[in-house]
């Protein structure tokens, strides 16, 4: 039996839908499931039918933030959520907006929230659904992350979640894990601009990878790259604190990064940094590929 999925949208930019459409094995995956409704894919029901008909299904995917008074076409998001959430076996809050409020939250702080969470607090509009919900934050979420969760649900396997209801298999790591710039991080060699192959982006360019949970450098985007590998700082998009200000500048207090790598005490970090900076490693201070 194919899993029956309903995919609805709240306040969204369509980013997670587009990310999903970029899944490399989408054709194979679509043979395994049936979309009763998806805003972009051919579906069994229209949005109107979705709100009016009685039917059974397995998984509800919510993309976008929740605003109670929001309407999709002629259908109230709130009414739709109330109806579908009762029937759904599992609910996936896909993307940071659905999980925590995300980018759109800053437009209307009080009235735009995630399903279970409002930023870091468990004060979302549907917090009573906590036991059914799995958060897959990301701006957007990587399609492989969604497929992993859907496959686990289909196989009826237990998905271990962290305190923000994120699957540990995906979010127990930091984005820093697997970054090809780790050698520069170890020896505290800064990247002087975006897009260069050399240097760590943590010290000057605002990279949040050392304290952001995610698998971006383990499960590559489009199977080829990640932000940090390409020379762009991680913006911390899987965290409930997303979106911060001044994303391309590292906040410092007297030259010391305001945010430490995850779980690293400040004294330990400063001690190691002081030692590493005492040595100048010639190789790491030169261009990797010398054009001359």
């Amino acid at each position: 039996m194919k899993s029956k999925i309903v995919w609805i949208q709240g306040v969204t930019c369509n980013g997670n839908s587009h990310s999903f459409l970029n899944y490399q094995n989408l054709d194979i995956f679509l043979k395994k499931v049936e979309f009763l409704y998806h805003p972009l894919l051919p579906s069994k029901y229209s949005l109107k039918e979705l709100s009016e008909k009685r039917f059974d299904f397995d998984i509800l995917i919510v993309e976008g933030a929740i605003k109670k008074s929001y309407e999709r076409g002629i259908v109230s998001l709130n009414t739709l959520m109330e109806k579908l959430s009762i029937k759904a076996r599992k609910i996936i809050a896909l993307g940071t907006c659905a999980a925590f409020g995300g980018v759109f939250k800053s437009y209307d702080e009080k009235n735009i929230k995630g399903l279970i969470f409002d930023g870091e607090e468990k004060k979302g509009f549907f917090k009573e659904l906590e036991k059914k919900v799995i958060n897959i934050p990301g701006c957007p979420a990587h399609p492989e992350w969604l497929i992993y969760v859907l496959n686990m649900i289909e196989a009826k396997k237990k998905i271990l979640l962290d305190d923000f209801l994120r699957p540990k298999e995906i979010y127990a790591f930091t984005v820093h894990s697997g970054c090809v710039r780790n050698e520069y991080f170890e020896w505290k060699v800064d990247a002087k601009s975006f897009g260069v192959k050399e240097g760590c982006l943590f010290y000057e360019q605002g990279c949040q990878a050392p304290y952001t949970h995610g698998s971006c450098n383990k499960i590559l985007w489009n199977e080829v790259n990640s932000k940090t590998r390409a020379g762009m700082p991680c913006l911390g998009c899987t965290e409930p604190t997303f979106l911060k200000e001044e994303l391309f500048k590292t906040k410092t207090y007297m030259s010391i990064p305001a945010n430490m790598p995850l779980g690293v005490p400040k004294r330990a970090y400063l001690t190691i940094t002081g030692v590493a900076k005492s040595f100048k490693i010639e190789r790491l201070n030169k261009r990797l590929i010398d054009e001359s």
């Binding site: 007297m254 010391i256 400040k266 400063l270 001690t271 002081g274 030692v275 900076k277």
Partner: protein, 199 residues
């Protein structure tokens, strides 16, 4: 070596004696034999603790850095303003200069003046890390709570420690008309004014 063990105590005794002799007679004049003689130990026995005079020199700067660092750490842990911390750090530094002048003397006259001794194994901040780390934390917390101004770390570090070191140096040269205590309040005020956030 277990902390507080007999060997550890003896090692500290050697370091304290070496510091006093270096301070009194100069780093290059004092030999391992002089230190042994002062302690009524054999020269060979000293080498059981330190493989060379250079190795002793490096251990000494780490020993001093730990003493300074642990005291400043206590000040950092107090729930007081950056202004009060500045005053406490100045007071502590000057009290060390008075009570154990050989420690500050070694820092200024040996470590900072004879970098050739420390070039292998004490590069950059390695041997003074416990002390510098605490100063970093003091600055970081001061800026974070809005009391101090954001600026480059070394600009602030030089102003603070250069100032204190300079005063102790002048005192050591007999050029200050008053005791160091006399200057604590005015120096603390000067440092605070130079670092404070005026926004």
């Amino acid at each position: 070596m277990a902390k507080g063990s007999r060997k550890e105590k003896r090692k500290i005794e050697i370091m304290d004696t070496a510091l006093k002799l270096f301070s009194k007679n100069g780093f290059y004049t004092v030999t391992i034999a002089d230190i042994a003689k002062e302690l009524e130990m054999s020269v060979g026995n000293i080498y059981n603790y330190f493989s060379s005079k250079d190795a002793l020199a490096k251990e000494l700067i780490m020993y001093i850095s730990k003493i300074l660092g642990s005291n400043i750490r206590q000040i950092n842990m107090e729930k007081i303003s950056a202004k009060e911390k500045i005053e406490k750090i100045v007071r502590f530094y000057f009290s060390m200069a008075k009570e154990r002048p050989e420690l500050i003397d070694y820092f200024l006259r040996v470590y900072l003046s004879h970098r050739e001794v420390f070039k292998d194994g004490c590069e950059g901040m390695i041997c003074v890390s416990p002390f510098v780390t605490e100063i970093m934390i003091f600055f970081e917390e001061g800026v974070k709570n809005g009391e101090l101004r954001e600026q480059d770390f070394f600009s602030a570090f030089g102003l603070f420690m250069g100032y204190l070191g300079g005063m102790v140096y002048l005192k050591g040269e007999g050029m200050l008309p008053n005791d160091l205590d006399f200057y604590i309040n005015s120096i603390s005020e000067n440092i605070y004014r130079a670092l404070k956030n005026e926004e």
